[in-house]
Structures are given as structure tokens and as C-alpha cells.
């Protein structure tokens, strides 16, 4: 059952809207029921809350002015980019304001000489690389939703992507940010280089899921395209053999640009949807991408295929052309939504284990699934141990609660095995209640103290990341696919 939608009414809404209208055009202050409803959730559709007001400022000064109105009235506010987040980070707060950054969407500068881009928060991730491409440059972090997610959201979530194994996360690529703090002041965090004087406030802000302020401008590093890129799709007789292969690659001192693993259930779904050439009978497959200077790339690629063979690979398919490579990636990226073809409903989990414990965690997940009679498909970033188990179930058959329980147990199992509750989807509203599984009361208390340093009154995206008794009493509803996802435009891994 989805959480019932709630709405707010009353004088506060009118008073706030009146103040916003003093500096925003009428169309940029949304208070009507229908308009508000389109902001009631993000990509985690099981959590819904209609806000009191939605505002659409056009620049940093207007964002700051909106925040000052909220601060004056002590009204909580939630920043929102494209709303593609998967942990409810942009879930509105009851009686609160949603500050949409969708009008701040300019690429302010592509600085080729210094290899950096200056961006407003509403710029789509993929558009950065598109704008940089004519200069042989690109922006490395590539979350799978990169066509539709924004850099501001990436900053909030410290987003990764398939290639972060080699190239790092958003935090490794952001140099400088302009931020509106909870009191409406505008400050700069970070600097034009990696040099710092004083604490790395930039680094704390990154990945704070909108709880420490609103980013209104960001300077990111751009990288040069590698000379060569090689891709192999290899089938294995077991998940264990595929896992061992990843270990052997690391032991051979090879850092691939990406290593992705899919199990047979995931391949079955992906193949049905895309026809990328996967062997659906294979228990597991790896997609391994190498990049770098041409000679070394070729040498390491030979080593790589040899490692695959040594681990009993049943088929090694080298995708030689860019088209072939794109096809393999398309299958991988479609896998998630494609699971809808083999199960009426499913829940996506996101957890991390030390890579060396991959086989163990997969065996445990399979056991846990069979104990409750539910299937679990696995598609994941094998290089860094980031799992995305998909718990398949049928809402109609009343399996929701069981599936939800299994999914949460899997995340907590990751912590038990020395990993993390989340590798990239964030904690948001979804997992705040699981935080005590990973952090002590003291750890969480220090995070709260940091938060109060940034935001003394707790107005900035309250109820996210850090557990609260109110939040943890509520239950999420089932996962519902985003229309873009059903159309195959985006995916969630």
C-alpha cells in the first residue's frame, strides 16, 4: 500500500505565496492542487507528500530570496532538481516549500584551457559531456540516469556511475560551488584548485542530500577522452567464477574503467527487452571496459581475456566497434526496467560490500530469497562491490511486505559484511531508519551537530538522511516505474 497522499491548507500557504510573488512571476509560485501534486514525490514513488508551495526561482539571488522567506517564517524547504532520485531525497515536507532549480539550467562556461565547466544546478549531467565533446573532453561521473538527472542533484547525492571505479564520484570532480545556506546567505565552498585553506566544507556538502543548503552554481573538472576503449562481454558457469575473475583482474593490477555483472535472471529480462546478444542460459556474465593509451589498453585487454578464460568463461564476446559497445551497454542499462517483463512488481535495492565478499553476499541473498519464496535478480557494479538486487514479487498476491522486508534485510546484510547501506542512491527518506545499523548514536549525533552548524533551525530538507522517530514510524509503498523508465529512456542503476 502506498502512503496516503496528504495535502496542506491554510493561511501559512497564502502568506508565503504572497511573499514569493513579490519577487517571482505569478507562474513561478505554484499553490494549486494539480500543480503541487506533480512535485509530491521523486523517483522513489512509494513516498508521497504534497508541499504547501512550489517556487521556481530563476537565479541564485532568487533562490536566496526564497530561502530567506522560509527562514523568516521558519518553514522547511526542499530543493529539487529533476526529481529522479531513488531514495526520496526530494520528497516534500508537509507544510513546507519546494524550491525547484529547473530554471537554473545554463551551462555558464566550458573552459577548455583549464578543463572545467561552470554550471547552474539544473543542467542535465549528460549535457555537460555533450557541450565538452567538441573539445575532446567529458565529465566523468555518469549515473545511469544521466540523460535526465541534473548536476545539482548529483552534487546532493555525490553520484557515481558505472565508470566511477576508475574515475571517482562527484566529490572527486567538483572544485568549487556557490551555495545558498539555510539563512539565505550565499557562500562559496571549495576553490579553483584542490588546495584548501581550512576544513573541506565543499566535501561535507557534497552528498549531504540537500540537508546543508542549496547549490546554485558548480565548477567541475573535465577529463580528456582516453585514446582507446575496449569492451568485452564474458559468460561464466557460475556467479562465483565471475566474482573470482574480478578478483584476478584486480590482482593483476588492472583497473578497468567499468566492471558490471549480471546474473541469469537479469540477462533474461534484458535480452527480452533489448536483444543485446547476452546468453540467457549463462548463470553470470561480466561486462568489462578498459580505456587508456592504445598500446597499454591492448596489452591489458589480452591479459583480461586470458583471465576470463582461466576462470572458465564459456563465451568471450569482444565488442569491437563503438556500435557494438553501445549495444552491450544498452542491454545492461535496460536490465533494470526490463525486470518488469518477468515480474509484475519489484523493489530495487542499493548496497555495497567489500568486493572480496561478493560471492558470499550473493549466496546469502539467494538463500534469503528462497527462504521466503521470492526471486532476486542481480545487476551490479562488480568492480566496487555495489550491488543492486532486484526483489521480484507480486503485489496482487500480497507479497509486498515480505519483499520489502527482504530488501531491507539485504541492505543491512551489506553493512554486516563490512559494507554500506548505499553506494549511490542515497539514504534520503528511504533508508534513514536503517542508519543505526551502520552508525552508532555518537556517529549520528556528530552528523547532527554538523548539520546544526550549517542550519541551526533544521529547515533544510528535514527528515532525510538522519533518522527521526516520526519518520521511522512510517512504511513505504511499493516501487512504481517512472514513465521515462518504462520507455527505456532512463534506468535506475
Amino acid at each position: 500500500m502506498a502512503t496516503p497522499t496528504t495535502t496542506t491548507t491554510g493561511g501559512t500557504t497564502r502568506a508565503l505565496a504572497g511573499e514569493f510573488a513579490a519577487f517571482l512571476p505569478e507562474a513561478s509560485v505554484i499553490t494549486d492542487e494539480v500543480g503541487l501534486r506533480s512535485y509530491e514525490c521523486d523517483g522513489l514513488t512509494g513516498f508521497r507528500q504534497v508541499p504547501a508551495v512550489v517556487v521556481l526561482p530563476r537565479d541564485a539571488q532568487e533562490v536566496a530570496a526564497c530561502v530567506r522567506v522560509c527562514a523568516r517564517h521558519r518553514v522547511p524547504f526542499v530543493a529539487r532538481g529533476a526529481g529522479t532520485g531513488l531514495s526520496g531525497g526530494a520528497l516534500p515536507v508537509a507544510d513546507g516549500v519546494v524550491i525547484s532549480l529547473q530554471k537554473l539550467r545554463r551551462i555558464l562556461e566550458i573552459d577548455v584551457e583549464n578543463r572545467r565547466a561552470v554550471l547552474e544546478p539544473g543542467v542535465f549531467n549528460l549535457d555537460i559531456s555533450r557541450a565538452a565533446a567538441p573539445h575532446g573532453l567529458y565529465y566523468a561521473p555518469d549515473p545511469s540516469s544521466q540523460q535526465v538527472c541534473t548536476i545539482g542533484g548529483n552534487v546532493a547525492e555525490n553520484s557515481g556511475g558505472a565508470h566511477c571505479l576508475k574515475y571517482g564520484f562527484t566529490t572527486n570532480h567538483v572544485l568549487e560551488m556557490e551555495v545558498v545556506l539555510a539563512d539565505g546567505s550565499l557562500v562559496t565552498l571549495g576553490g579553483p584548485t584542490g588546495e584548501q585553506v581550512g576544513p573541506d566544507l565543499r566535501g561535507v556538502f557534497l552528498g549531504s542530500e540537500g540537508t546543508l543548503g542549496i547549490c546554485t552554481k558548480v565548477t567541475v573538472r573535465l577529463l580528456a577522452r582516453a585514446e582507446s576503449k575496449r569492451l568485452v562481454l564474458a559468460d561464466f558457469p557460475s556467479v562465483q567464477a565471475a566474482g573470482d575473475t574480478v578478483g584476478d583482474i584486480v590482482d593483476a593490477s588492472i583497473i578497468p574503467a567499468a566492471v558490471e555483472m549480471m546474473d541469469s535472471l537479469a540477462m533474461e529480462a534484458a535480452e527480452a527487452a533489448v536483444g543485446a546478444g547476452y546468453t540467457v542460459e549463462a548463470p553470470a556474465a561480466l561486462i568489462i571496459e578498459l580505456d587508456g593509451p592504445a598500446d597499454e589498453c591492448d596489452t591489458q585487454f589480452d591479459q583480461l581475456t586470458e583471465i576470463c578464460e582461466r576462470n572458465g568463461a564459456t563465451r568471450i564476446h569482444v565488442a569491437e566497434t563503438a556500435d557494438e559497445q553501445a549495444k552491450v551497454w544498452k542491454g545492461r542499462k535496460a536490465a533494470f526496467a526490463a525486470v518488469g517483463r518477468i515480474s509484475p512488481d519489484y523493489i530495487v535495492q542499493d548496497g555495497v560490500v567489500p568486493r572480496t565478499r561478493l560471492s558470499e553476499v550473493l549466496a546469502r541473498i539467494a538463500e534469503m530469497g528462497s527462504e521466503v519464496g521470492l526471486r532476486v535478480a542481480n545487476v551490479f557494479h562488480a568492480g566496487d562491490g555495489n550491488l543492486h538486487p532486484l526483489v521480484l514479487y507480486s503485489e496482487a498476491d500480497g507479497e509486498h511486505d515480505q519483499a520489502e522486508e527482504l530488501s531491507s534485510s539485504i541492505a543491512e546484510l551489506c553493512v554486516e559484511l563490512g559494507g554500506s547501506l548505499s553506494g549511490e542512491h542515497g539514504i534520503g527518506a528511504d533508508k534513514a531508519c536503517s542508519m543505526p545499523a551502520m552508525f552508532s548514536e555518537d556517529d549520528l549525533d556528530v552528523m547532527k551537530r554538523v548539520r546544526s552548524g550549517f542550519d541551526a533551525h533544521g529547515l533544510c530538507n528535514p527528515g532525510k538522511v538522519l533518522p527521526t522517530p516520526r519518520l521511522c514510524g512510517e512504511k513505504p509503498g511499493k516501487y512504481q516505474a517512472h514513465p521515462l523508465e518504462e520507455a527505456g529512456v532512463i534506468e535506475r542503476l
Partner: protein, 387 residues
Amino acid sequence: MTTSSATPTVTPGSLDDLRDAVLHHTGPLLVAGAGTASDWAGAPEPGATVLSTAALTGVISHNPGDMTVAVRAGTPLAALQEVVGEHGQRVAFDAARVARGATLGGLFATGDSGPLALTFGSLRDLVIGATVVLADGTVAHSGGHVIKNVAGYDLAKLLHGAQGTLGVVAELILRLHPTPVATATVALPTPLGDAARHAHAVAASPVEASAVQWLQDGAAGRLLARLEGTRDGVAGRVTRLRETLGAGADLLSEAAAAAAWAAHEAAVDGGADDRAVLRIGVTPSLLTDLLTGLADATEVTAAPLTGVATLSVPATTAAVEDVHRRVADLGGTSLLRRRPAGRTDLPALGPAPTSAALLRAVAASLDPDQRFGRGRLAPWLPTGVTA
């Protein structure tokens, strides 16, 4: 735990000891590692108890298969490199003072970095987890043993570059990289004015240099570019790099390369005793003009591709302030690293940034009595004042 009464120094030997020491000694605390950067940043207010990490050493756990290592903060990086080196791994970090015994905690707290920052960033990019002790004895963990992790705030970042304010780092978890099989350095004699052009040519070529540094060498200078990778691969790239840099670019022998990088380290880490050493960072394209405009600067080293430089100027308030002001005018950062003994009057920091009030608020929340590193970030974090 040992306590010396002559100089108020406490040397805890475990995390519990460290927490007890913080709770037991009620006044200001000055964290000390190997002492390789004791005069960096603002001068600490006198009278603090020295909290030494000299006994907080050793690897807690090394997981070669996961390429991570957990280590106590007082461990010298050079010692850690030996341990992980046995497994063909390294911490991809090469700040100049590592050779003098600098500890992980000290390198982290001072936000130091070396030439490899071009490729691997600084310790803020390599540290994936931390255990810290706050002024009220709270022990807090963040991050963990996995490289990919977005659960909770990245508290470790707060202590990076904090210069010993806010709290003390007890343990760090780092990600490791494979030690390259082969390394080669190509050197090109070039004055500073042309170094950036050559460095950009290197960056535009596909050789993927892991470090590119310019250093002053008498009246002229030389550009060093380091390549790392497989034996054949590096050999091939050396050829391409020499073609890119043109006449005068030479592959250095192993000994010559070691000497060249040692000279670079000495320039960054040394400096005459009667001069002030500053570390600056500006948008890379602005660096050359800035440095050539500083007529009094000596022992200049510069990373043309990252915009970071280290230089010495006369130890006068006017000369140091001039550097701070010029850098601030370009939107950059500057920090006084070394000064002649007793010259606590030299300004350590440039003009306060827009985030100074936020810094004070965060400090007030974590260390309300400003026990840790009082004076280190003055005047941004004023002494004797709580926000």
C-alpha cells in the same frame, strides 16, 4: 599513555587512550604528528597541551583484494607505503615532506599533496573513512571500508585541511592503487613563461602523464613529466612524449629522475631559514602571470595543469600579505607554510572567504571552546571567541 610534565605533552597509545586524554586534559590541545609541518598555518596560541600521535601507529587492517587499508593516524606514510608495497600497492600520494617522516594524520590535517595530485587528487580523494575524537570526547566514525559509499555525511572531509582544528583524527581508511610496473620521467629545460604551454601540449597528447611539474633551476627552470604504466607501454609513451615536447626533451635515467624529483621535493619542502614559504592555488591559466609578477619569489615550483605552486618570499609582513592579496584577487587560495623561527606575526591566511561565518558556526558546534588548534586558522577562526 605517557605524560610528560616538563613540556605538557601527552602521548596516547590507543583510541581509548586518546579519548581519555582529550577528556582528562581540559584546556586547549595542539595535535602533533611527526612535527614536519608544525609551523604551517596560523601560530598556535601558547599554553596548549600537546597531543602527540607518535604512539598511535600501525596498520589496523589491509585488504589487498579490496585495495583498502585502515591505519592509525600517527603512522608515517613512508612506513605504510612499505607495508602495502609488499602487495604491489601504494597510496597514490607523494607530498614532499613524506620523506621526512610525515604521518597520515598530519598530511591529512594539513591538506598537503604532491605532484601525483594531477591524477589522483589529494588525501581528501583517497581517504574513504575516518575515526575522529572531538573536544567533548565523542568518538565518531564515518565512511567505511568500501570505496563506493554515500551513507551519511562525509565527516572525514571536515578534518582534511582543518590544520588541527575541530578535532583529532585517530584512524583513517584509505583506498589504494596498484604500484605501476614501470615509471619514466621526461625533462625539458624551459623558463616558467613557456612551461604552461608545454604542459598543455602534454595534457593534449594521449600519453596520460601522472605528474607534470615545473621547478626553478638557477635562472632557468625545467619541466618534469612522469609516466607510469606497463614496461612496454611507458617506453612507447616516452617516445611520444619527447615528440610532443620537441627538441631538448630528454628521458632521464633512473638515477637522474630520482635526483630531479628529489630536487623538486627539496624546493617544496625546503627554503632558506630566513624566508617565508607559501603554498598557493589559482585557476591554472592564471598561474604563470601571477608567479612572474612576484619578483621576490624564489624556490618556485609549479604544477601548470592544476594551478598549484609553492614559493619563498622575504619574511616581511608586506611581502607575505602581497602574495595573499594577489592570490585572493584571482579567487585563489594561499597559506603560509613556513616562517623563520619566532615570526608568528606574519599573516598565515589571506582575506577571509565568504564561508568564514559558516566555518565559525561549524567549529562552534563541534568544538565550542575551541580546544583544538587554537590560532591555527586565525583570524578566520578567531582565538578567544566562540561564535
